[in-house]
Amino acid sequence: MQAKILEGGFVEAPTDSARAFRQIMTAMAQPGTINTVVGAQPPAPLSVATGVVLLTMCDPETPVFLTPKFDTDEVRAWITFHTGAPFAEANNAAFAVGAWDDLPLHDFAIGTSEYPDRSATLIVETDHLSVTGATLRGPGIKDKATLSLPDVAAFRNNALLFPLGLDFIFTCQSDLAALPRTTKVS
């Protein structure tokens, strides 16, 4: 095992993950806001923010799907060592990591009518994240917000599935933003 696999985790896991969760939770509760996280140094091509989300949210109970570009020995070893999360195909994944164009959107679990929470959360690595772009409306948003999104139609279709659907976390370096299924994108 390469030594650097053992590195890049939280230094003080309990408080680092508590602070990170608050940023992730705020992002999910307030779509269109960008929040900054710290504490993870994952191997490339994972961003700091994706590393933080994985460390904070994943464990042996959450199968993770990686798109081919992110599915490297080093990334797998880092996630395994730091979270214990198993790897899975898209249809069994609780979390997924990938660039927008590589994520097989139609393969992920969207929940069931009785358990809509049994749905995947997709961590979308982006090169650019800013509060300009598509218009967002819905829960968590006073009037409207704007966010740089990689698509519009896909998120519209996802919102139509409500209360089923996918939830998204967009990451860019140390920044993250989220888009729950309730957000109406135009």
């Binding site: 408080t15 939770m25 509760a29 949210m57 929470d117 006073k142 729950p180 299924r181 309730t182």
Partner: protein, 289 residues
């Protein structure tokens, strides 16, 4: 140095609760199942709220706990001390200074801001439970959006009492989809469920977490001919003179003399400090015990 986990719960339990909170925020009003843990306090003390607080608190937080509006009950004091010790949070009784507020049975009078979180202790999370005892059936009813029975029950109230008699835990519809129990807050508080802060609900015994993100559409169930009314006692607070706050009625002596006072003790105290005096009040003195 410490022999307990940060915020008492182990990391895996907090992660499980955090995942439930994220899904709860993504599906407002839907009850997310979670595996509730034993807490070092009885269920009646709000172990669901305590577990949610444990999952969201950081050492940077300022924490407030209210029990029926008061910061100084045994229950509120115990929970505040618990997190002061286990999560190293600062504590306060001032609504405006708190970043996380855990509550039983009230929403603070003062409007919450976008950077504040309100955690509710919930005894019975299922609003359909008194109509249908089976969890399998109520889950189906939510799935099919089958809320007719709930309206029938409220309408029976009207035919029997001339008004909807439900005055606590008055059911709401969230974002036009899920019917939700707002916990046993007085219906006076229902309009405040539309707020800037993040609202999280935890039911320990029933193992459910649910959430209402900021600015979510929350509507109290009603009828065209009997619109919802956020009623309160038709009095002013006898201590601070407030006419816009929810009041508790107290019998103050053996002759049965009554007194109305704000249930939100921080609100009442802040008004008295600002010089407001009610009919039976006295000027606020900083050192008065």
């Amino acid at each position: 140095m410490s022999d307990y986990n940060f915020a008492y719960l182990d990391e895996q339990t907090k992660r499980m609760i955090r995942r439930a909170i994220l899904k709860g925020l993504a599906i407002p009003g839907y009850q997310v199942p979670f595996a509730s843990r034993e807490m070092p306090m009885p269920y009646g003390w709000g172990t669901g709220g305590v577990q949610v607080s444990a999952a969201v608190l950081t050492p940077d937080d300022t924490f407030k706990v209210i029990d029926q509006g008061a910061d100084d009950t045994t229950n509120a004091v115990s929970i505040r001390r618990f997190f002061e010790k286990t999560a190293d949070v600062a504590v306060t009784e001032a609504t405006g200074e708190a970043s996380v507020i855990q509550t039983r049975h009230r929403i603070p009078e003062q409007d919450l801001r976008a950077d504040q979180i309100l955690v509710y202790q919930v005894p019975i999370p299922e609003p359909l439970r008194f109509l249908e005892p089976s969890e399998v059936e109520t889950r189906k009813m939510h799935a099919l959006e089958e809320y007719g029975l709930m309206h029938v029950k409220l309408y029976e109230d009207i035919s029997q009492h001339g008004a909807i008699a439900t005055s606590y835990a008055y059911p709401v519809k969230v974002e036009g989809r899920y019917v939700m129990d707002p916990s046993p807050i007085p219906k006076f508080d229902n309009p405040k469920l539309n707020m800037a802060g993040i609202q999280l609900f935890g039911a320990g015994r029933e193992q459910r977490i649910y959430a209402v993100p900021p600015y979510t559409d929350v509507v109290s169930l009603d009828f065209e001919d009997y619109p919802f009314e956020a009623s309160k006692a038709d009095h002013a607070c006898d201590l601070c003179g407030a006419t816009d706050s929810y009041l508790d009625e107290l019998i103050v002596d053996d002759s049965g003399k009554r007194m109305f006072m704000c249930s939100d003790t921080d609100y009442c105290c802040s008004r008295r400090k600002a010089g407001h005096i009610g009919a039976q009040g006295v000027p606020y003195a900083e050192d008065a015990a």
